[in-house]
């Protein structure tokens, strides 16, 4: 027996391939949309993965540090460090800001991390070039997506930093590339006031008789010193020892340190359910509609393909072709279209994915899903 579907396709292969390519572009769009959605979720997860933390300790009763502002004294890490089950604890600051890159502006998340010993939570991972920050000051590690190269000078607030290392896939939950500084530098950038503000602050202190008691200028000097610097962090990242249970350690910190603690699972829930929830749902909704539309178009293509052959099908039936053989012929052509559409869609989606401003994660599972749908 010859393949009726194969012969039919060969006979009008130009039309068949064009239809397949058109379908492929549609599948490509659907895949990209799914990729955009996955990319968002993956960015959020990358943020958590790359922090290398098991627990996030934040200001009491906040959803910090990513979903809400959180601020706690840097020295809260010391008692945590001493608790049973805790391997390492390190303060970290996050500040999203616009910085100049060449003649453009890039939006980056400035991350201050403790550089004390290598492997501390919060330090940049996925280094693809250069090295970690080793000097306490004026060095930075940038994510490749920011556009900076090794040796570039980056101005954050008032100071310049030299890029000594590059990372990949180190982004904020919003997809902004990270710029790592030492904790001290980052604290300065985040909390330091500019000169005018300091002058006004000093004037206020001096005008306040309680902070500037007559005849004791040392008090005002001490108050100013306290106010001008900051030793706050946005969160303390904690890693636990291999034998410890994250929930138990988290409970202990909550009880003894009176701070809010999130485990990895809770943090993921906050990011996915709260922080990116609306935009993700927006895209998911669009994806649902797009999938329905694609399915309708595929059904329509198969319908017209069948209607276009109705006379041949009638003849085939009259000369004794089984209905099964005819359905199989149509099904095979649909599968063929699906295959072309799938390949074209996959290629198209991979080709245009890099041009998206945010990460687009194309999963093989999505593609097979699209393939199945298109059949």
């Amino acid at each position: 027996m010859i393949s009726l579907a194969g012969r039919d396709i060969l006979h009008g292969w130009g039309k068949f391939v064009l239809t397949g390519v058109g379908l492929g572009l549609l599948i490509g769009v659907t895949l990209s949309m799914a990729g955009v959605y996955r990319g968002m979720v993956d960015d959020a997860q990358a943020l958590l993965d790359n922090s290398h933390a098991d627990l996030w300790v934040v200001q009491k009763d906040t959803l910090g540090p990513y979903a809400e502002p959180s601020s706690l004294p840097e020295d809260s890490e010391r008692p945590i460090q001493a608790m049973r089950g805790v391997a390492q604890a390190a303060g970290v600051t996050y500040l999203t800001m616009q910085i100049a890159q060449g003649d453009k502006d890039v939006r980056v998340m400035v991350v201050g991390t403790e550089m004390g010993e290598p492997g501390m939570p919060g330090q940049p991972t996925h280094l693809i070039a250069g090295r970690q920050i080793v000097r306490g000051h004026y060095e930075a590690v940038a994510d490749i997506k920011s556009g900076f190269a090794i040796g570039d000078r980056v101005k954050v607030r008032r100071n310049f930093y030299t890029v000594v290392g590059l990372t990949s896939r180190m982004v904020s939950s919003g997809g902004d590339p990270m710029l790592f500084l030492s904790l001290k530098d980052a604290q300065a950038a985040q909390f330091q006031k500019d000169s005018d503000a300091i002058v006004r602050q000093r004037a206020r202190t001096e005008a306040n008789p309680q902070l500037n008691p007559p005849g004791n200028p040392a008090v005002a000097a001490a108050v100013n010193a306290v106010q001008s610097g900051s030793t706050n962090v946005n969160a303390v990242l904690v890693t636990i020892t291999p034998d410890a249970d994250p929930d138990i350690v988290a409970n202990a910190i909550r009880r003894w340190q009176r701070l809010t603690v999130y485990t990895r699972a809770e943090m993921e829930e906050i990011l996915v359910q709260k922080l990116i929830a609306n935009s993700a749902r927006q895209i998911a909704m669009f994806l649902v509609i797009l999938s329905i539309v694609s399915a309708a178009i595929v059904a329509f293509i198969i319908y017209t393909m069948t209607i276009g052959k109705i006379r041949e099908i009638a003849v085939l039936k009259l000369i004794g072709t089984r209905n099964r053989t005819i359905s199989w012929m149509i099904l095979q052509q649909a599968l063929g279209l699906g295959l072309i559409g799938f390949v074209v869609g996959k290629i198209a989606a991979s080709l245009w994915a890099p041009f998206f401003p945010k990460f687009v994660l194309l999963l093989p599972a999505d593609r097979s899903g699209a393939f199945l749908r298109s059949c």
Partner: protein, 251 residues
């Protein structure tokens, strides 16, 4: 002569109640093996309906139909697999050739034995032999759209003959052809009827070919009336009639 087809009192009513159409009101006819008969009648008299009943495309309302010594209908189908019946016992020829456009000439003809389970090579060999006999062997590799109307009709005839069915039903096979070619097709069908011992019924309006039938059924208002036409003699070899246009095609 052995029995080819017999119809006894075949009735077909479309619809029911007030809108019922009595297309066949008790048709009796019989065609022997190797015989070609014509079926004529005014428009709407039930010719196509009769062929459709006989071809198991629609079900009669009552009556009896026999092909060879097998009763296929007796107030109900007597064969379970109507598809196999159509494939193995009946060849169809239509007004238009209705070839499958995406299969070449050989496979258009070989498809039937393939559907019946013959290996591809054997089916193609059968098709080639038959196409040669019908003088279109040299176009065996062409696509249907590349053939002349007469060649297409001959391929359609080859398709109807390939499974050596005991019955061939032709519904106005000469309608699109001019006088010469129409006669050639009828002559060819006569040749084939004898060569393959097939009973052939040709429905026609075509004045030119009516005189060629040795036996003619005239159907009026759903009832058959047998008539013997005056008869004209057919050329010794029917294929000879095609030679002029075949020669043209070769150029």
């Amino acid at each position: 002569m052995a029995d080819g087809i017999t119809l006894e009192n075949v009735v077909k009513t479309y619809g029911n109640g007030d809108t019922a159409v009595h297309a066949l009101r008790g048709v009796n006819m019989s065609v022997a093996k190797g015989e070609v008969v014509g079926l004529i009648g005014p428009s709407g008299s039930g010719k196509s309906t009769l062929l459709k009943c006989l071809g198991a495309v629609i079900e009669p309302s009552s009556g009896k139909m026999t092909i060879g010594d097998q009763c296929i209908y007796d107030n109900g189908w007597k064969v379970r697999d109507l598809r196999a019946l159509r494939r193995d016992l009946i060849g169809f020829i239509f007004q238009a050739p209705y070839l499958i456009p995406f299969l070449d000439v050989t496979d258009n003809v070989a498809l039937l034995p393939m559907l019946a389970g013959k290996p591809n090579a054997a089916a193609r060999k059968m098709a080639h032999d038959l196409l040669d006999a019908l003088d279109v062997g040299h176009r065996a590799a062409a696509m249907p759209s590349q053939l002349s109307g007469g060649e297409q009709q001959r391929v359609a005839i080859a398709r109807a003959l390939i499974n050596r069915p005991p019955v061939i039903l032709a519904d106005e096979p000469t309608a699109p052809l001019d006088g010469q070619r129409a006669l050639a097709v009828v002559a060819l069908l006569n040749d084939m009827a004898q060569q393959f011992d097939t009973a052939i019924i040709i429905v026609t309006h075509d004045e030119k070919i009516i005189p060629t039938f040795k036996r003619l059924y005239n159907i009026r208002e759903g009832l058959t009336v047998e008539e013997i036409p005056k008869g004209i003699s057919l050329p010794a070899s029917a294929v000879a009639l095609f030679e002029s246009d075949t020669a043209r095609d070769k150029v």
